[in-house]
Symmetry: C2
């Protein structure tokens, strides 16, 4: 079999696997938007079947044989060419999937299902002790998985690699440490400034039908294509890239919380623009897929915060908002509104955190989960460690674990090594946005005119269309001209919050 | 391997097949309700994959071997027991699927895809000639399929058997002939009566949000469980039983056509009640599945027409309707409204036909499609034959083929042998409803009080919970006490329309 023929066979199998997984994605979207409650048990069976079929295909020995034949042949694909990238990434995924013993995969699936249920109850009652044995079990199995996956780096690195390929805990510590050194004083200065917006203007009466129309209009304005996607309501918002031409975003409405649905919509639309910008010609292969969770998050964060919370954005949108919500906004000035959507204040809950303090939430989680994985922290000590560090970083002590270490679903789901990608998203976004501003000139002038096409075009050209051609570390260096660091984000935060809270 | 073990193995495989098909059902529901237009091409690929996987499983030689082992063993399951029914029906489906050569299945799939597209264009332009070669090809392949499937009966019977197992064209001719002999004079008498309701009261302004709320309330009142189902909007309404606890119905709203969405909702809710009444313990096996398309249609027609268009139903619902649509109904009397929803008049389009003339539409189609399959009618002669028979039955000549032989999608989709199930639904419904009235006493009194539970409970007990235990012919005889015939339906139609149009 020639290398070319082996490659075509490999790609055919991989596309079928992705197609099968995309069927599960439709089911996943459905169950979080429209599925009647009574359908849950049957849906679980459907998912188990599709997951089993996917697992068979993803770990089929034929994939391994085809990969070896391609890798060990006399000819080689040109580095960074589409076939070379696809082979590299399929190899990575195949190794990851086959390195984990099937018994461990099954044990993790069971343990996380139980742990998620236990977590939900524990959070409601703020009772960490009932969750503790479940987290211990998930952690035990996750560490076992890390050992199986480990290749050179630390155990934590082996987990991180699933979400942010090529990233290391050592590098994260370097960047996060430097970020903290500048961010903590900035947040302290904001708190000490004594200034604060009138945040209550965002909790006035915002009728949901109007919020929906306004959110759709904004998402469409920044370029989300509603012929190739849609926006629905859900409890925990997400974006699902079902396939080429079908990208679905979701948000959550509260009549008295304008910011929740609106910035949630911009955030998910940012994810959606990435998915819609992937190259359809490479669909179903790594070249048509997103680089990493961190890069994906950089797109959502950029549209949510760097664009959606900037003054120029509201120069264009505030008059429209006032038309749509006359009762809520008639007596509100553009400046007051802009300040309100940039309200910075330490708070307990990550998902409600502002643009500045959000990163402190993430770094705290990274610190703890790395210690858990490396055996430097016992599960029983998590609440104490959490609260102690929270007080250090935020100057507040969580009133209970529901407002502390029980607030996130991730650990119960076995998503250990995932949190850093949220902060990476912010860091990447800052570097990309700075580069875009360099290349595109007066971005603020464009935003104030309602022109988001130049930025979107730039993102498509520089990031989206490349799929997984470059690793995140390479991409960020290539696009921004410097390696991952804290400088761009701090520059952005200082430039924004300095004027608002007094330099 | 013991019979029991072989049976369990068979059922395990069959349930997996059904589970896989239920994944495709979610995708099918999605594409007809919410899927963005851009997702169509990817969705077709997803369907092709799932259809292929289903076909493999449904025709796996292991199924045939297990069936043989069970059928040829020394012991046998008790007739009509759940295992015996499941084995009988799985055998039937397995034989049907394996008798068709794969090449023919593929050729039919391609031909019908092309024919449907051609039909859509031809209908828009009312240009039968552009559709003709496609229908010829579909018919040629369908006749080939009929020959492959044929077992004793006629070629048409082999097709009919897919939709209404055990039914024959000979029996249909007998029943339809007798029905026509009494129905045609009834319709003629109605036309000649000179009486007609003021149908315009149903085309006043009915705001869609109110229609939705009213339709949901009515569906819930007759027993559709919205915890285990939902109602959405679509272009061509349908009911999809995705799995236990998840039954989805759809309707189509037009602000100026109250009857379309409302009776469409009752119709689909009738289908939904059947699906919700199937025995979850037998889910994924024939014992947990519907008997036939005709029996399914009997449930939708019963709730739509026998219940939803009866006077007692509106005794309860008309005051509510007036509350929900005050502008449209303030000056309308209950009698005028009742007459309007029972407006009988010959018209060209089947899906818009009233309860009486609907059956004439079906019989015309049956006559023509049987002649096509048996080689007694050439495709080129369809328009002429259609118009001639239409004039015979309705006293009207279609102005063009869009209002004649091009109006339905079925033939282009290869659904030849399907139409009779619509009329069977009406005939079965009449026999079942008469029996229910016998058993339950004052049904009208119950309906007038908004009590639909007794009828639903009776349907569940007598029909739904049995799944495929009985063939349609057995079931109708068992439940109504007489074989399929025209008497009950004509009794119902005369009892209803006599008083309205003058005995």
């Amino acid at each position: 079999m020639s290398m070319q023929r082996a490659y075509e066979d490999l790609i055919g199998r991989w596309k079928e696997l992705q197609l099968l997984q995309s069927c599960a994605a439709v089911l996943g979207w459905d169950e979080r938007t429209y599925m009647p409650r009574g359908g849950a048990a049957h849906r679980a069976e459907q998912h188990a079947l599709l997951a089993g079929l996917s697992h068979e295909r993803a770990t089929a020995p034929e994939i391994g044989e085809l990969l070896s034949r391609i890798e060990e042949g006399d000819e080689q694909f040109t580095p960074d060419s589409a076939p070379a990238v696809n082979v590299r990434e399929i190899r990575r995924e195949y190794d990851r999937r086959t390195k984990l013993p099937r018994s461990l995969v099954v044990a993790l699936a069971k343990a996380t299902t139980l742990a998620e249920q236990a977590w939900q109850e524990a959070r409601e009652k703020s009772a960490f002790e009932t969750f503790r044995p479940h987290l211990e079990e998930v952690l035990r199995l996750t560490r076992e998985a890390a050992e199986a996956l480990r290749a050179g780096g630390s155990a934590y690195d082996a987990l991180l690699d699933r979400f942010e390929p090529g990233e290391t805990s050592q590098n994260l510590k370097r960047v996060f440490g430097a970020l903290r050194d500048e961010l903590a004083p900035l947040v302290a200065a904001i708190v000490d400034s004594g200034r604060a917006p009138d945040a209550s203007i965002l909790t006035r009466d915002y009728p949901i039908a109007n919020q929906t129309a306004f959110g759709i209009a904004a998402a469409a304005a920044i370029g989300f294509d509603f012929e190739r996607g849609r926006l629905d309501e859900t409890v925990h918002p997400f974006c699902s890239g079902i396939g080429p031409g079908d990208t679905r975003i979701t948000t959550r409405y509260d009549r008295n919380r304008f910011a929740q649905a609106f910035f949630g919509t911009l955030h998910e639309a940012g994810h959606g623009l990435y998915d819609q910008g992937l190259d359809d010609a490479h669909s179903g292969t790594p070249m048509g897929d997103a680089v990493s969770l961190g890069i994906h998050e950089s797109q959502s964060r950029m549209w949510e915060n760097f664009v959606g919370r900037c003054r120029a954005f509201w120069t264009h949108f505030f008059p429209k908002a006032r038309d749509v919500f006359p009762a809520a906004l008639a007596d509100v000035s553009p400046d007051a509104f802009y300040f309100a959507v940039n309200d910075v204040r330490p708070s307990f809950i990550r998902v409600e955190a502002d643009e500045a303090t959000y990163n402190l939430h993430i770094m705290l989680r990274f610190e703890l989960e790395e210690a858990l994985v490396e055996g430097d922290l016992a599960v029983a000590d998590v609440p104490g460690a959490w609260n102690e560090r929270f007080e250090r970083d935020f100057g507040l002590r969580p009133p209970d674990d529901a407002h502390g270490c029980l607030q996130d679903v991730h650990w119960s789901s076995g998503l250990i090594g995932y949190f850093p990608t949220y902060a990476l998203g912010n860091l990447y976004a800052a570097q990309f946005f700075e580069a875009a501003r360099r290349d595109l000139g007066d971005l603020d002038g464009q935003f104030a005119e309602g022109e988001y096409g130049p930025l979107l075009g730039w993102l498509r050209e520089r990031i989206h269309r490349h799929g997984m051609r470059y690793r995140a570390t390479e991409l960020v260096a290539e696009v921004s001209g410097e390696p991952l660091g804290h400088r761009a984000l701090m520059t952005h935060l200082k430039a924004k919050f300095g004027p608002l809270y007094g330099d």
